[in-house]
């Protein structure tokens, strides 16, 4: 069984090595020196100013990863993280900007709204799956487009948004400072205070999933809907709850930025968290520490890619690397799985040769 754990560690490392090799080939083809490129990325990426930015991005990515991982634990593929996040952060910003409350309460309300909106939007996909048998992959893709349309509509100046004079950036009204979360000064920069929540969320996710009855029920439903049902789990309800939880988590993705940085939602808020979240959950094997490492790595790649343009390399090489990485990681895991299964069967096979079958009790009665 030791070889199994070894393989589980080797697989992601191998995938990272492979994707590095792959982009090196691309870079060489273009006439750039991959070693130089990596060197300048490392120099840039590890500069303290950039490290702070990377921490902030990573904490955002981390939550996306956890949101995806919750779904994965149930065999659900929540591509809807994008839509859930967008609706959630939008409404949280709008409602946060409308009210004035005492400091802590104000922040709590914003976070609550984000989780509720994201959770409901996620639960909608869960409902469609449970009641109508619609695959969450399809429904969440469709719901993403709908969410994006709703937000784009509501963000217009004549609806809930406003437009700063002389700019075509649309945003929601600025939230009062009572609804701000302080930043933490580290390395001469400002890290979003929400990062602490992110860490707590990771911990809660892990404990709940691996130690609690609820977590067992969730995982059991993921392993086998029917077996969970026969084991007394209301498996349909678990699907609904899981989608809601995953959506609520997705709702928190934008909180660091909203509460500590921009204090309003604008069209320049980043998107594409569904892919990032799913990628990180896969890379980190749904483990909170794994996802955290993956999130930092991802953020590092994103941030340090900024230096590439100066080297005459389009920074999109990093996007290619991330795509390659994710494919190689799932391929690696799949291969490990096949090898493990074969080994285990062999192992068990040896141990359980049935002797009772070997006794022939009676001769053949001829016609």
């Amino acid at each position: 069984m030791k070889s199994r754990n070894l393989l589980a560690v080797l697989a992601p490392l191998g995938a990272i090595a492979f994707s590095f090799a792959f982009i090196s080939v691309i870079l060489i083809a273009k006439g750039s020196n991959p070693i130089e490129v990596v060197k300048s990325m490392a120099e840039y990426g590890f500069a303290s100013r950039n490290l702070v930015a990377e921490l902030n991005i990573a904490s955002t990515y981390y939550i996306a990863g956890v949101a995806a991982a919750i779904g994965f634990k149930m065999n659900l593929f929540n591509i809807g993280i994008d839509g859930q996040y967008r609706l959630a952060v939008f409404f949280a910003a709008v409602i946060g900007g409308m009210v004035s409350l005492p400091p802590v309460l104000h922040v709590a309300l914003i976070i609550f709204v984000a989780m509720a909106v994201g959770g409901l939007w996620g639960a909608l996909a869960g409902y469609l799956k449970v009641k109508r048998g619609i695959s969450e992959v399809i429904s969440t893709i469709m719901l993403n487009a709908i969410a994006a349309g709703i937000v784009a509509y509501l963000l217009q100046p004549q609806q809930l948004g406003e437009q700063a004079t002389g700019s075509n950036n649309l945003n929601t009204p600025i939230i009062d400072s009572s609804g701000w979360l302080p930043t933490i000064p580290i390395l001469g920069g400002e890290v979003h205070g929400f990062i602490i929540f992110s860490l707590l969320i990771g911990l809660a996710y892990w404990v709940l999933l691996n130690k609690s009855v609820f977590g067992f029920n969730l995982r059991a439903t993921g392993f086998s809907f029917r077996a969970a049902r026969a084991g007394g789990v209301n498996a349909s309800r678990m699907i609904l709850i899981t989608m809601a939880l995953s959506g609520a988590m997705a709702g928190l993705i934008g909180m660091g930025t909203l509460l500590s940085q921009t204090h309003s939602y604008s069209i320049s808020f980043p998107s594409g968290f569904a892919f990032t979240g799913l990628a990180l959950a896969l890379l980190g094997r749904n483990h909170p520490v794994g996802i955290a490492l993956a999130a930092f790595f991802w953020a590092f790649l994103d941030r340090s890619s900024g230096v590439l343009d100066l080297n005459g390399v389009p920074r999109e090489i990093i996007t290619i690397m991330q795509g390659t990485l994710i494919l190689s990681i799932v391929v690696a895991y799949q291969l490990v799985k096949i090898v493990n299964k074969k080994q285990e069967q062999k192992f068990v096979g040896k141990a359980t040769l049935p002797e009772s079958n070997l006794v022939k009790t009676e001769g053949v009665v001829s016609k």
Binding site: K211, S224, R226, G232, F347, V348, T361
Partner: protein, 503 residues
Amino acid sequence: MSTIIDVQGIEKKYPGVIANYDVNLKIESGEIHAIIGENGAGKSTLMKILYGLVAPDSGRVLINGKKVSFKSPQDAMELGVGMVHQHFMLADNATVLENVILGSEPTSTGGVIQFEAARIKLLEIAEKYGLNVRPDQLVSELGIGERQRVEIAKVLYKGAKILILDEPTAVLVPQEVKALFENLKELTSHGLTIIFISHKLDEVLAMANSITVMRSGTTVASVEPKNTNKGELAKLMVGGELPKRGDTSTKPSDEPVLSLSHVSCLAPDQREILSDVSLTVHKGEILGIAGVAGNGQSELIETIMGLIKIDSGTITILNVDISALTSREIRDSGVGYIPQDRQRDGLLMMAPLWENRILGHQSTPPISNGFWVNKSAAKIDSERIVKELDVRTPSINVMAAALSGGNQQKFIVGREMSGDPNLLIASQPTRGVDVGAQSLIWNKLIEARLSGMAILLISSDLDELFNLSDRLAVISKGKIVAVLDPETTTPEQLGLAMTGEKI
């Protein structure tokens, strides 16, 4: 008549199981040859070898005196061996004709299918052998009997001269069985050879020209129906002595554990799936439920387990009404449940064994305190089950999928009996397991009965029912039609009751 198939000394091993060994079989041209045996006797493996799906490890198969080695079912088909599967290999979303021609489509240049030619050929075959099929119907519109005819037409279309039918009557209603037998007779009258697998002795005696009995992976006898009888066949299938009933000196108490009174239950389409079912299982009693598959057994279990809601009547366990409780609450009130499909309903196949110990016991000590799961308790108790039930596994950390069927089942039995439930629902507890596992599971059930557990045993294995049950209830079309005493009831009486006749 000449020997068309001659099987000599076939052996086939799978990891952990010897499926076939020393199998010998002679089939004459133009006969209906039945192969009988209990579940797990090796019939299916033998058939897979005959129609080319798996290759034997050793031994040889002769067809018309020539040694053959099939690499695929197509090879077998080329020599005229065709398989009619129990689970039909049809696509619902395609027409009968499309299903029939797949794999041997008549085409003109460019791969265009000549549907007209195919339709004519199919209709000719249907005409010749009296198979009523309509080429342009969608398979999704067909009933079970019609689908079976399509399957038969399919292998005939491909030129089969030897047809293998795997438990063809298992899914049919009596009229359809009759029609099928007429079809089969018709086929043999045209010189085709039929091999059919069954464990229904009456059918075999009525239909077959010769019978081969298999047990524990090997052929034990070949007999002709006119020289044998049901008793002898049953004895050959079971081998040696019938397992004796456990200690019958102790009588069940009068204290009811489970009682259903006037329970009815409707399917979504308003069809009655359980109608006015009343029965009681007492402390220290095994109540057997006998019946032809699909007569409401699974619904009966699911209503007791709270998985489907009843429409009228009451279900009580130890005098507490459980009709409105959730499945979780019912389990917590002291109910163990061995589902009939262990791989789909009984286990998390891709989870380690110890995690499987938790399934069904998420909210009961020692595994859980209702909110947190106690992992070490689950591991300790898994070790206990592995030891007590002789589950052959290298460790409790391997995936459930890695165990053989018998060992998976032993683990489930151990799990469901842990915590000494008041009531155990055991559905097909020994289906498809090896003889060793079977006797161990039977002994466990008998022990539990002696210690006062109430057991509801649902089984299609008559030996199991007769050997374990204190009383036998017969279910037919969702109704309990008879409650019998296994000591005095004959198999004939039971058979009649199972077909819904009053006795």
